[in-house]
Symmetry: C2
Subunit: 194 residues, 2 copies
């Protein structure tokens, strides 16, 4: 039972507790086809494909996720395309059409290498450094207020190894984001620049 919950967590948190949208041309190309459908490498329901070059986008924030079992540990980063970054920085709500947020999730690996160094530099502090391990999944939220009017103006997509999750998974995205309605369904806040 617990394991099944964790599995569900891996998959759907993969899919929904975060935040992301897409580059405008992708949105437009799906919008032109009317009601978007899953097609090959696009997400079911929303018809969103992985936007080319999203790894070049700018940083919104980072976060950390852990589960009771100790088995689920992830480090995460959220990146935004130009429209999304501008909206975050200026506090624009709702996000304008064309905003895309990408949520990148990695398994969290304890770094023995780092910890050895930390133990020498900071004896007694028992510092634990965890780093990004293998890629778990990437999610996108794409703002198109007309195309995705039924889901708060956002389309959702979740990919693992380049393949979109199934329809059941994508049905969980919007309900999970609804509690963040006051912030246009986006959980992530822009991290201050140190």
């Amino acid at each position: 039972m617990a394991l099944r919950t964790i599995e569900r967590v891996f998959i759907a948190l993969g899919a929904c507790a975060v935040i992301a949208l897409f580059s405008l041309y992708v949105t437009k190309s799906t919008a032109q086809s009317g009601q978007p459908q899953a097609e090959g490498n696009s997400s079911p329901i929303y018809g969103i494909a992985i936007p080319a070059g999203y790894r070049e986008w700018r940083l919104i924030s980072v976060n950390h996720l852990s589960g009771a079992s100790g088995k689920l540990k992830q480090v995460r980063a959220q990146l935004g395309n130009d429209i999304a970054i501008k909206a975050f920085r200026e506090g624009t709500l709702p996000f304008p059409d064309g905003a895309v947020i990408a949520a990148l999730h990695w398994s969290e690996n304890l770094s023995d290498e780092n910890n050895k160094v930390l133990a020498i530099g900071f004896p007694g502090a028992d510092l634990q450094s965890s780093v990004a391990g293998s890629a778990e999944n990437v999610q996108f939220m794409v703002k198109d207020s007309k195309e995705y009017a039924a889901t708060g103006g956002w389309g959702f997509a979740d990919f693992k190894n380049g393949k979109p999750g199934n329809e059941a998974l994508h049905q969980t995205c919007f309900p999970c984001h609804e509690p963040a309605k006051a912030r246009d369904y986006v959980f992530t806040r822009y991290a201050p620049t140190p």
Copy 2:
């Protein structure tokens, strides 16, 4: 005693266990002055100022740090300028001159908001989501093999609230990075793209 260790950790991990360099023009401007000195908003020893626009740089990786006391918890991101990102992606070692790595550190804040949503979506999993809180500090590593020949070709800088740490702090940077000599003194590895 323990507290003093933790304080040291806050300051120097702030300063040294991570990884970053600077935009080329900054390096050059300090290089022109010969032996770099701390001057106002530049780091002691290395003479490095905060490079303008570093928050626009691309993501290298993220990580998580925690201490035995439970008081030290940080989420972290490393960004690279174009030269650094190219070197990371191509596995180029040593890093070429002009490479700059920025390490952004935030206090880690447990997100009640996220956890409420997670508790509904994933009952029994006891998921804990932590997000970037206040900015702690930012560090830079700047590659200039001539200017910083005595410290592996790297200059170091640590800033909190826009002000550089003192000389004693900056003296810890290079010794701490020496164990990573085989990777040109850089601990951070490039996170795979999900």
